[in-house]
Assembly symmetry: C2
Homo-oligomer: 346 residues x 2
């Protein structure tokens, strides 16, 4: 099994599927209503995201024989709406200042407005999901609702793990702890859910809805680790979030866990004290010190190596799940995504 | 049409329906999982709330001929879960410190944890709603989902109006503006939704699901105004929230709107400046000054008068909607609730 891995074909389909999904998503948002609501629901989706989740959903559907693009694009728009709701709430929880190259909703409009916009985004995602009844029938729609319920459970549990670690100043985590959190927080909604709903959107009685699960788990973990890497060594103009934001926020990344495992007792003590402070009490010199330490210990490079291994595993799993379908345009795209998520700079 | 209006019978049914609903709600929450999640979902429901929404749902169902208490108690538990999710998020948005006589979730565990717990509470409400399929069938469950969708839309729009007024420092609002906001923010989810879902839980093809709407609108407005009154002149030990919290938060109540309409230019200027400051920049002397002004202008008493009129209107509407059913135990309870919501001290 070989796949042509260049940026070109991946970017082409990412752009195509993102454009169609976002056009549908934005065209059907409510208009009017009170200030600071529906107009702000359109804010994050209107910024230049990658559209990875939408593309995973559409490509998986097409690779497995889906032919009705309107149906799957509607499902993909649902996936992206849930994603944007997560981003809005996540930015509040993390106290993040930048998202996709501009101020976060909470930084620009305050927490009360942003929290409400996140809730409305979730509700509009649910509405769109239920509207599938006309296109897909009651049975498949119930299954989509069930998959959404499951995805939300995993995602909120993953989020609870992460915010709990910060709250408890957990400093004895292992790589396994990280991967378990990452599977729930990232892989499920970023990869497993788009693939499963994409297969449901084929509309042929949904055999093997879970056949891309292992691909999704590995791909999501690789994606998250690369996100953690870019947060430390990325180019802001491409990445769109504040560099070192994860350090300011006290995020427990694979990189930080690796460093805490190998650093000297004095470095460990200093880091534990840094992480135990409130975000507001952290200082730029301390952030810079920790940043340099993570690089000095090659913890970033080590994480990149793990991400690469996960991407290889994702490609292998996709090849097995796709079989002959791996030769189709969408099959090749799904395989090439494995390299894309670890090579990306945004 | 007369109804015996004493505290006794109202308290009896409130307590009975609340106890059954909360027992069901708490018994079926997930256990285990990560820290700071399912255990905290149970926190607010375990505190001593009034259970007004659960009782409205159960009593309406029984008044209109519902006989299967298990079914309606499950619906009432859904209603209470959505209510508790609102409270958690609302406390974050308002920066509130006290809820039901104890620190808010956000004050005790921080915003990141509380926001996530609110989201999980919403999800568990939705799960419980979907579980009605086994008890009520697919048709009625779709209708419950549709009513929930509508309720959430109104509630989030109402919330957007309120947080938007604070953000824009709106100081030229009228009583009509307040009532429109109140219908969306409070009446819909506190009264209209519990009554509608209670009628749906009768399970007889749901004729006239909206027949208690006018009752719900008036009852909810009376309830909200009395809440605003208690916030200024209540007894903390009974009310359970910090007294004058609404002033610290800059809430646009009917009381404040009335004062701004009738005060002197100098008082108005001082109030507008106070309201335009960030919450953190407000001072206790300024809050005390405004509090005394609201009382001096009889703005609190005026609001109580309006709440009384609304309660009377609610009773009249309920009597018309209930007809002969007004004589039943549950019918009398629904009528008596009109006085309860304006006479209550908690």
């Amino acid at each position: 099994m070989t796949a042509t891995v260049t940026d070109g074909p991946v970017d082409t389909l990412l752009t195509r599927y993102r454009a169609r999904t976002m056009a549908t998503l934005l065209a059907e948002l409510p208009t009017g209503g009170p200030r600071y609501l529906y107009d702000l629901v359109a804010d994050y989706p209107g910024r230049s995201g990658k559209g990875l989740r939408a593309a995973l959903c559409v490509a998986t559907c097409r690779a497995f024989g889906g032919t009705d693009d309107d149906t799957v694009v509607n499902v993909a728009a649902t996936v992206e709406l849930f994603h944007n709701a997560f981003l809005i709430h996540d930015d509040i929880q993390d106290g993040s200042e930048q998202r996709r190259g501009a101020p976060t909703l909470s930084a620009r409009y305050g927490v009360p407005v942003a929290l409400n916009v996140g809730n409305m985004t979730n509700l509009l995602a649910l509405e769109r999901l239920l509207a599938n009844r006309d296109l897909l029938g009651s049975g498949t729609t119930w299954e989509l609702v069930e998959q959404t319920r499951l995805m939300l459970r995993h995602s909120l549990e993953g989020q609870a793990i992460e915010v709990g670690w910060i709250r408890d100043n957990a400093c004895d985590l292992t790589a396994d702890d990280y991967y378990r959190m990452c599977l729930k927080k990232t892989s499920w909604y970023t990869c497993v859910y788009p693939c499963r709903t994409g297969i449901l959107a084929v509309g042929d009685g949904r055999p093997g809805m879970d056949r891309m699960d292992r691909y999704g788990w590995f791909l999501g973990a690789a994606f998250q680790i690369q996100d953690d890497v870019l947060n430390l060594v990325g180019d802001y103009a491409r990445y769109g979030k504040e560099i070192s934001g994860d350090l300011w926020e006290g995020k427990r990344t694979l990189i930080l866990i690796d460093f805490l495992d190998r650093c000297t007792p004095a470095e460990r003590e200093r880091t534990v004290r840094f992480l135990g402070a409130d975000r507001a009490a952290r200082t730029a010199p301390e952030v810079r010190w920790l940043h340099r330490r993570l690089l000095a210990y090659d913890s970033v490079a080590a994480a990149q190596g793990h991400a690469r291994d996960l991407a290889d595993a994702a490609r292998t799993e996709a090849a097995a799940a796709l079989g002959d379908r791996a030769e189709s345009e969408d099959g090749r795209f799904l395989l090439a995504l494995a390299d894309y998520v670890v090579d990306r700079s945004r």
